[in-house]
Every structure is written in structure tokens, then in C-alpha cells.
Symmetry: C2
Subunit: 418 residues, 2 copies
């Protein structure tokens, strides 16, 4: 699902307000990485036809689909693996052949950060994983973590754009982050980086990680501090003169499509936000509070009502069960809705078709789910406490399975009150 | 603020669809308990004039206001104390003098559960507090806890109605619970109780509390099990034939008043819910997500926008600071809104004028609060982690202090985007 139409008329390609005359370029390449990269690549194949010279994209295991001219490689996600490194090396090799008269379409979507990586010499996959693990558990915020990650990579922080130069580069980005902050999506391989080796080092010092770093990482960063390693690309870099970035889809657009569909089915609709955040089980209580108000008072929306929210919640794990943020959210909503007799449906799904480490995209609840749980003597609260929403929803008919969808624009939540 | 108008024309009193001809009654009493009881009593004085025979109400320390005919007594809340027991004894003494031709207005509002209590002989205040503490920390839900509490009381579970009989009883209730569930407000002293001594005992067994109970409590409940103590009042009890219950105000009506005021100021308004629940700092993230969508996209509400929510959030304490659920919520919202430059205001307040164990009703945030915190080098996240919203807001100008307001209909949250 590419949400912003890419149009082609003769040799002119139009996306939003921008256009390219294919006639002006010698070779046209397609590269990319991310959960949705294969679908994006196939769409670009359809649009470019035989003007497409060659391409390669990296997707998460299980997310490949057949393409004609673009090679699709599967690799590890969320943990980078050897396949990911090898595929990235091939992509870098490929763009090296592109010259100043060539055009490279770079297709990025969520997950691209793990799927597109080149490590500096001397730093191993194990070193990187250790460092990442330390960063994730030290309390650093995402900007701080990214400043370190970008300085342990030879593609992040605009460095892919450097590899693509002198060819022209058009980035088509499917955003899976709130606010579409470009340097966060796939760690910004074609976007300028404001942080430096100095910034990265300060972060490591702030969280007292310097001493604990793998020796090779420490050594590399110290060399960077001494100016012996090229910096990530800064905003004034001339490379960016030939780089364009276009968001071709995000959560907001998915919500609008869902809204139009609900309207066509006769529902009154209201989008509350495309920036939802928070602990899934608590967000569920707020959502339930609004749905109950609709049921009882037709507020904030007249029945038949379809309430829409988008974003991405989080789960703080305390149990040992199976689930994902969307499944956990609907299970918590079920508990909050248990006293409601009249009909309703609440659904929460990852748009990529994956929710946590499960084969489900998310879950849905309605009064019969509660009845079914009572009949089967399933204690919803106990399942929730064990972060085991998957097994609860599996037994009550509340799982939603779509398989990989080919897009990745965070989560969509929907509440229907007939 | 009595939100449902009580009208008097000659000797006829009208509330909603009900009316009473004062001429038909000999003496008219006013009794009550709860944070708002004094304001309610004064309003009843104004309405009844010299038809008011006598009255007494119990309020929380600091919540008394002068009344002419109704005696206002202050007592402990949220912890019941000796003054509360003594005041209740006086109220019971008073209604004993009411006969079948008399009318008792019983004014109940939130807090009434601790302010209106008569203990069975042999059970001390310490026994009750110990039992309550065990109940609060065992994981029992509110219905389970109430079944025990009602069976350790001689006023809860409809027993006050029994004391008022044979007089007629009109309960005017200001609701501070979601869904206005009557048996929860002030533990339902004039409402039938579906639980029994058997129910209460099963709860104590379920949570393995029986052995740990104070000896006197154990003994009393065992006597109850053997039928040696009168049960709480059940729905079929003839006492209820002369009991009427009217909700004269709740969160929803407060929201409507706020909405009307915002409209008069030129804001577009939207009430999302009057049933808000959840962990304050997580609810804040959802609220911030909606406010950001208004700022950026005029969704779900066109600017100038006033978004309204009501209900009551909770705080899981982990720090040692000072604050309340409303103050904590706005502090968490400030963190979620820190990247927002344009103007907005988010406010959350307890309608009773009290937020947690503080002298503030709640708090508010807007961009200048963040600027002020930066200038004073205050780390908002650290204050939040220490549950110390009060001291953060105090230093940045975000506290709202109203003093006791005379009402108590949970919390009101409001977001303004000009």
C-alpha cells in the first residue's frame, strides 16, 4: 500500500509536487531497506518498467515477495545479522556503479536501521550488539542512542547518500515514527546528522558506559574523536544538493484511508490522533472510557460510530507470556469494557502485519469475547498480568492475522459502536 | 455548585422529575456526609428556609462553612477518626427522633465513606484501619473490599436508611464515581447491599486474610456468619419503600458547564469522556497526542479548540515526592509536549479543590512552564520519577489552588489550543 500516488506520464514521474524527467538520466537504480521495501520495490518496477536498470532491497525474514529486476534479500530484524551486512555491502557495491547522470531511488521504511548496516573495520557484529544492548538499558533517549549508533556505522547519518553521490538520489520514505522525523526513520542513511563523535562520546560518558564498551568500539570512537575517521554528513554537505526526500506514506494517511472506508460503510467517524503513545494497558483504559461515552451518550461521536487512532504504544514486560503491544492493548480494553452489554468492537493492529514476536498483526475484542472467556474459565486479568494476550485472544477468537502487509506505518486502532 | 437545580415554589420542592409537598410532612431534617456536604446543606437551608427543623452534616477538616440551622462537624478523611465516629453517632441520634410523618434529606458526596461510620461493639478504630489496610494491599477489587467494609459497619450497606425509617428519606447525591454506581458513593448507606456476611468471608478467605485479621474483627464476622448479627439491607427490604435517591450532580454535568463556558469564550469544544481512568502519566501521553494533532492538523477539533475530559486517574507511587494525580498528569504531559513551540494550555484539577495530599487542586502547563524549568535547571523527568510534581509546578508557576470548592465530582481535564 503506497499511500501517496506515484504517477507516470510518458517519461515524467510525479510524486506530490515533485517531478522527474526520466529522459534526463542514464541509468535508474532502486535500492532500499525496511519491512515494506519489497512491496515498494515492486511498485517502482511497475512504474519504471524497462527504464529500471537494476536494484536491490533488504527486507525482514518472511517479508520478501517476487520482483522482476530488483533483487530482494531477507535478513535479520530487529537484530542485525550477517545476511544484513552482506546485503548492505552489495547495495553499496551497486550504487558505486552509479555516476553523475544516474538516478537512484532509495526506498526506506521502518526496520531499515537493522537491515541496512556497514560496520567499521575491526568492529564485529557482537561488539555492535553489546553496545546497542548497553544503550537500550542505560536510560538514554532515542536522540542520544542514535548519536552513538550513527558514529559506529558507515551508512547511517547520511553516509549512504555519500555512497550514492555523484548520482542523483530520491528517497521515498514510508514513515513508521511519530512526527515523521527523518533522521529517525532507518537511522537516516540519507539525512544530515547534527551529532558528532564528540556528542556520541559525551553520551557514553554521561551514562558511564565508556569503560564497559567493547575494546574495538572504544578504540574506534577515540580515533573518531582525534579526527582520524570521516564524520557523518552535516547539513551543509554538498552531497545533499542532489538528494531529495519524500514521505510517500505515514500513519496519518493510513488513518484517512480507514476513515474513508468506515464512512463508506455508513459510520460517523472521528480521528483522535496519529501520534498515540503510552503504555498499552493504560492507553486501553482511555480508549475504553471514550467508547463507553459513545455507547451511553453519543459523545464525542454519534452512533453508528467509528473512532480512529494511530501511533505506537509500548509494553513494559513483567510476565513471560506471548503477545504484542496491540494484543495487550485490546486485552486490557476488554477488562475495562467487561461491564458493557451492548455491541461494540475495538481493534488494534500493526500496519506491517506483525505485533511483537507473534504471527498476529494484533487483536480485536467485542462482547462475545468476554462471554467466551467466561465459558472457558479464562481469567483475562491473569493473562494480562503475564503479558500473555496472544494465548487469551487465540482461545477466544480475538487474534487478527494478516501476514506481512507490505506497509509499515505504525499501528491503527479502531473502535466501532453500531 | 449544585448542578441539578432544586426548585421551590410555595410548599412544593422539585428536583428533576420528582417533587415533594412540604406541607405533608411534620418535621424536615437535613443530614449528610462528604466533602461537599456543608455546601449542600447551606443550599438546602436556603431552599427550605424555616421549614428546616434541624440538621447535621460531617465534612472533611477544612471543608466546613457556616450554616444557620445545620450543624457542620469536621472529621478525618481519608482516614476515619474519633470525630467522625462521634459525629455519626449524633446523626443517628438525630434521625431517631424522626417519625413516620417526617422527611429526612440525606446529602451524600464523595468522602462520605470515611466521614460516616458506626463501628460494631468490640471493634476499635485501630481494628478497622488494620483491616482496611490489609484489604487495600491484598489485590481485592472495589466490590470485594466493599462487601467486607459493609459488614464491619452499622451504617453502610443501607443501614443508615434503616435508622432513618419510618421517616421518609430523600437522598441527594453528588457522584464522585465513574458511572454513578450508587452503592459505591459513600459506601451506599441508603442503598441495598447484595453482599452478605458469607460474601465478605469468602473474600477474606480468597486473599488469605482470615488468619491475619484483628481478633475482634474475626469474631464479629464469625458471629455474622452464624446469623447472630443483622444483615445489611437487601433490595426487597420494606425500608426502601420510603427511600428515594436522586443524583444532583456528577462529572458529566460539570463537563457540560465547562463546555458552555469555553463556548462562550469563543472556543470550539469537544468532550471526549466523563469516564477517564488509567495511570496518570500514561493518560497524559494520550492527551498530549490528541493536543498535538489539534495543533498540527485541526483534528479532532478546529482551533481555537477546547478539549474536555472528566474522570479520575490513578498514580502508582514509586518516589517520595509531593503531588497528586492531576499534578502528576500535567507534568507528564509537559514532557510529552516539550517539542511543541506553539501556544497551548493543558489543565487537570480535582473538582473538590484537593489533589492528593497537597493544598493544590491540580496543575496546568503551557510552553512558558517548560522555558521556566529550563532556566531554573529543573529536570522535569526526575521530578516525575520521584512523584514530585508539586515542587516542580510550584517553582514554574503551574500549580492551581482553589481551596475547597464545595463540590466533588471527580476531576476535570481541559486542553486549550488558541
Amino acid at each position: 500500500m503506497i499511500q501517496r500516488k506515484i504517477l507516470r506520464k510518458n517519461d515524467i514521474i510525479k510524486i506530490g509536487g515533485s517531478s522527474w524527467d526520466l529522459d534526463k538520466y542514464r541509468h535508474i537504480y532502486v535500492i532500499g531497506a525496511g519491512k515494506a521495501a519489497a512491496y515498494l520495490a515492486r511498485e517502482m518496477e511497475n512504474i519504471l518498467g524497462d527504464r529500471l536498470f537494476y536494484g536491490q532491497v533488504t527486507v525482514k525474514y518472511g517479508h520478501a515477495i517476487p520482483c522482476r529486476r530488483v533483487r530482494v534479500v531477507e535478513a535479520g530484524h530487529p537484530l542485525l545479522d550477517e545476511n544484513g551486512l552482506e546485503a548492505t555491502a552489495q547495495i553499496l557495491q551497486l550504487v558505486k556503479t552509479a555516476g553523475s547522470q544516474d538516478l537512484v531511488f532509495c526506498l526506506l521504511s521502518g526496520g531499515g536501521s537493522a537491515l541496512l548496516e556497514k560496520l567499521p573495520e575491526g568492529i564485529s557484529l557482537t561488539d555492535l550488539r553489546k553496545t546497542n544492548h548497553m544503550l537500550l538499558s542505560c536510560g538514554a533517549d532515542i536522540t542520544e542512542m542514535n548519536s552513538v549508533r550513527k558514529h559506529l556505522s558507515l551508512v547511517k547519518g547520511g553516509q549512504l547518500a555519500r555512497a550514492i553521490a555523484p548520482a542523483s538520489c530520491v528517497n521515498l520514505i514510508l514513515s513508521d515514527v511519530i512526527g515523521d522525523t527523518l533522521d529517525s526513520i532507518a537511522s537516516g542513511p540519507t539525512v544530515a546528522d547534527l551529532s558528532t563523535f564528540e556528542t556520541a562520546w559525551q553520551v557514553l560518558e554521561k551514562y558511564q558506559l565508556v569503560e564497559k564498551l567493547p575494546a574495538a568500539v572504544q578504540l574506534y570512537l577515540q580515533q573518531g574523536l582525534r579526527g582520524k575517521i570521516p564524520e557523518t554528513l552535516k547539513p551543509a554537505d554538498p552531497v545533499f544538493e542532489k538528494v531529495q526526500i519524500i514521505i510517500i506514506g505515514n500513519n496519518w494517511e493510513a488513518l484517512e484511508v480507514a476513515q474513508a472506508t468506515a464512512r463508506a460503510c455508513g459510520f460517523n467517524t472521528l480521528i483522535l490522533t496519529s501520534r498515540l503513545q503510552g503504555e498499552a494497558r493504560e492507553v486501553a483504559k482511555v480508549l475504553a472510557a471514550v467508547v463507553k461515552e459513545i455507547i451511553l451518550n453519543n459523545i464525542p461521536l454519534l452512533r453508528p460510530a467509528c473512532l480512529l487512532l494511530g501511533g505506537e504504544t509500548t509494553v513494559t514486560l513483567s510476565g513471560s507470556g506471548k503477545g504484542g503491544r496491540n494484543q495487550e492493548l485490546v486485552l486490557a480494553a476488554l477488562l475495562a469494557m467487561q461491564d458493557v452489554q451492548s455491541d461494540y468492537l475495538i481493534m488494534s493492529c500493526g500496519t506491517d502485519g506483525t505485533d511483537g514476536p507473534t504471527d498476529a498483526a494484533g487483536g480485536m475484542i467485542f462482547p462475545e469475547i468476554w462471554t467466551s472467556a467466561q465459558q472457558k474459565n479464562l481469567n483475562a486479568r491473569a493473562f494480562l498480568q503475564n503479558n500473555d494476550a496472544y494465548h487469551f485472544l487465540e482461545q477466544t477468537g480475538g487474534l487478527i492475522k494478516t501476514g506481512p502487509t507490505g506497509t509499515n506505518v505504525m499501528d491503527i486502532l479502531l473502535a466501532l459502536v453500531p
